[in-house]
Symmetry: C2
Subunit: 134 residues, 2 copies
DNA sequence: ATAGTTCCTCTAGTGACTAGAGGTTCAAGG
DNA sequence: CCTTGAACCTCTAGTCACTAGAGGAACTAT
């Protein structure tokens, strides 16, 4: 049950300094310590850190995660709020995908037009020299 | 021909502090000044800044841009290097799109399963509680 | 001449970590 | 019990690409 920070790091794939950082910003509670001031964690901390790590992987910001964790701690409340955070995030992700696809198209056009000539005819540099369409 | 930094900012849609920042990190050369130490820009600076802005919009990092600008300054060299920078960037963009699409799927599944119940049954929070698959 | 906008430099802050210095504690083997 | 070496501790500073704010000077229009 009692884990060192290194053990917790291995089990959650969150780096040791990042765990300490999460504690510092209040995402993780301060754990008990040994007599020599080393941190010791239980399974609750492991679960909480998994939650955080998963949410970060999905691109949720730390402030969102803070809110989601608060919600998770009140299981009888309605979940509309958690829903809304996720929906907001989904919209942001969809928008980002669109942007990236437009960008991908532009990069592909740039590369197609560029077949080992000299910089003078290089479409990559040519394209970038145009002002950004607003 | 002589523009103030504010005028340059309007024409390129790059904010004034950002222009000064680009100068500081060496992306833009130091422009001539008035007697009162205010910056004055010509069309060459405007074109260079358009290039930078366009490349940033496409997600190129400042170091890539620095390299592309150096390449652009040597028009008789072969453009294979510019090509390679763009190709590398395209690959990164494609990978990012894939990741985001997987994420989008996960968010949609989360939201589908969550119809205004209480937090106890909330799939959003439920899903996040699982460890991240490696 | 004056008013108001724009400009100047400088420092510090953002988010989410990451790196390093310099020192302490723990667990295992002898 | 003692030693060794890995893992731990705190603290500060750095990353990227800006952004914000303070306090003051210069420019432009009337």
């Amino acid at each position: 049950m009692d884990m060192s920070i290194g053990e917790l790091s291995k089990r959650t794939a969150v780096k040791v300094p990042t765990i300490r950082y999460y504690e510092q910003i209040g995402l993780l509670p301060e754990p008990p310590r040994t007599d020599g001031q080393q941190r010791r964690y239980g399974t609750a901390a492991q679960e909480r850190l998994n939650f955080i790590r998963h949410a970060r992987t999905l691109g949720f910001e730390v402030d969102d995660i803070r809110e989601l964790l608060t919600l998770a701690a009140h299981p009888s409340e309605p979940c509309a709020h958690a829903d809304e955070i996720a929906a907001r995030h989904l919209a942001a992700v969809e928008k980002r995908i669109e942007q990236l696809q437009a960008l991908k198209g532009e990069l592909e056009r740039m590369l197609e037009a560029c077949h080992g000539g000299s910089v003078a005819e290089c479409q990559v540099i040519e394209s970038l020299s145009l002002p950004v369409p607003q």
